[in-house]
Symmetry: C2
C-alpha cells in the first residue's frame, strides 16, 4: 500500500481533477467508483481496478479491509490517503472511504440490433439514467445505447443510482439512434403519451429495443416516427405521465412477464 500525504502530488492532483469533472473523466477514459457496494460488484463482475483509493480512517472497517486484502493478494495497486485528502476526491458525503479508479469501457456499435436493448434519447437526469440501467439489468436486458445528449453513464450519480448494473451491461454512448433504429433487426418500441396502442396489447415475448426520451419532451419526433410501434401505458388517475425511469421499469417487466412460462 502506497500513501500520498501532499496535496501537491501529481497523481493526487489527477484524482481530484477526475473526481470533479465529467469532461476530465470522458477525456481520461477513467472514472471513480465510490463506496463498498460498487467496488465489491466491480471486483466480482469485472475484476481488478486500475487502482484502489482508501481513506486512512477506513482502514479499520472490516468490509474495506476484506476488499483491500483481496486486492493486495492479487498485487493490485492500493493508495491510502489521509482523510482530509480523501474527502476532496470523494463525491459521497458520508462515504465509508473506499474508491476504485477504473477505465471506462469504450464500446461502439458493432452491427444491427439483434437482441433486446435500451435506447436512451437525450435523457438528462443521472438518477433516471442510473435507475433505467438497474431495471434493464434486473430484467435481463444487457445492451444499452445512448444518444450524445444523454447524461454520461460513467458519472458518479449514474453509477450510484445503477448500483452495479454497469458491470453486467454493454453500454455504448454517443450513438446515432436514428441509424440504429432504422437498421434494427428487432422490433423497436417507444412509449408516448399520444400513442393509441396499449403496451399490454403488443406481443412482447420477442426481443424488443425500447426507446425512451427526454424527461420533458419525450422521444424526439423524428426518432419516434421510425420506431416499429409507439405504445402508451394506460393511466387511470388525473396525473397523466410517469417518470421516465418508472415507465421503463413497467415496460421491461411487462416484457419479462409476457416472456415467462404460463404468461
Amino acid at each position: 500500500m502506497k500513501t500520498i500525504t501532499s496535496r501537491d502530488n501529481a497523481q493526487y492532483k489527477d484524482l481530484v481533477k477526475l473526481a470533479g469533472s465529467t469532461q476530465a473523466r470522458r477525456k481520461a477514459g477513467r472514472t471513480l467508483l465510490d463506496g463498498v457496494h460498487l467496488c465489491q460488484s466491480y471486483l466480482q463482475l469485472r475484476g481488478l481496478p486500475e487502482q484502489c483509493i482508501v481513506a486512512e480512517g477506513a482502514l479499520h472497517n472490516p468490509e474495506v479491509m476484506d476488499i483491500i486484502g483481496q486486492l493486495e493478494s492479487q498485487r493490485a495497486q492500493v493508495l491510502a490517503l489521509p482523510d482530509a485528502l480523501y474527502k476532496a476526491v470523494s463525491q459521497v458525503e458520508h462515504g465509508v472511504g473506499l474508491m476504485f479508479l477504473i477505465a471506462t469501457p469504450e464500446r461502439s456499435v458493432t452491427g444491427p440490433l439483434s437482441v433486446s436493448a435500451v435506447l436512451l434519447d437525450n435523457l438528462q437526469d443521472p438518477g433516471n439514467v442510473g435507475s433505467i440501467l438497474r431495471s434493464a439489468a434486473a430484467a435481463g436486458i444487457t445492451q444499452v445505447y445512448c444518444s450524445a445528449g444523454t447524461a454520461f453513464c460513467w458519472s458518479p450519480k449514474v453509477l450510484r443510482a445503477a448500483m452495479g448494473a454497469h458491470f453486467v451491461l454493454d453500454i455504448v454512448e454517443n450513438v446515432d439512434l436514428a441509424a440504429l433504429v432504422s437498421a434494427s433487426n428487432v422490433m423497436t418500441v417507444a412509449t408516448s403519451g399520444y400513442a393509441k396502442e396499449r403496451l399490454y396489447d403488443v406481443d412482447l415475448s420477442v426481443p424488443v429495443a425500447w426507446v425512451f426520451g427526454h424527461e420533458g419532451q419525450g422521444v424526439a419526433d423524428d426518432l419516434l416516427s421510425i420506431t416499429t410501434r409507439q405504445v402508451v401505458i394506460p393511466h387511470l388517475g388525473q396525473i397523466e405521465s410517469l417518470n421516465v425511469a418508472a415507465c421503463a421499469a413497467v415496460c421491461f417487466f411487462e416484457q419479462l412477464r409476457q416472456s415467462q412460462p404460463g404468461a
Copy 2:
C-alpha cells in the same frame, strides 16, 4: 402586487427560513412550490395559494404573467422580489422565477384502509418518494401513508419529483403503519426479494394496500410479517434488485393491468 426590496424585511426573512429548512416547513405547516408546472397544477387542482412570489426578472415571461393575471383577478396575494432576493429563496438553480407559498394539508388516519393505498415505511430518498407519489397518482391510487422515518413529502425535492401528484393525493405522514396494516379491510401486499410468491400470481383486481420499504433494508421485518401477501417481482438478470420507485411502478401498473377490461 407588493414588492419587498430589503433583506431585513420580516416577511422576506420568514420566506428564506422556510425555503432553507425542512424543520421550518414542518413547524410552519407551509411549503413552497417552485416553478410554473407545480404552480399551474396547484391552481388547477387545489385553487389559490396563500401567496405567490415572483422574481422581477420573470415578469416578462408569458406563462408567469398568465398565472399572475389569474391570481390578481381573484385578489390573491402576489409578492415581487428583486432577482437577487428571489434567488436566496428558490431552491431551483435555473428556475423561471415563480413560487407559491401554500399551507401543507394536515391529514390524519380517519379509519381502516378500505381502498387501494400506498404505505411508505422509512423511505429515505426524496426522489424515490416523489416518483412513487407520481406513479400512484397516474395509476389512480390516491391514499398515501408514510411512517415517521420517511422523507417529508412536502419538501422541494419530493414536490419536484412528483410533478403535481401531491394535489390529487391524500397524504398522511407520521403514521403507525403496523396499526394501519393490522386493521386493514383490504389486502396488504409488500414486495420482498425473499418472497416465494410472484407478483403476477396474485389477483390484483381488488383494492390493494402496497407496502414499500427503506432503499437498503426493505420493509421492516415486523411490518412485513403482518402483511397479507409478500411477493417478489421475478428477475432475469444478474442484478437482483430494483430501485424502490421502479418496483412500485411495476406493482401499481400490474394492478391496473389486471383491473382493466379484457385483462
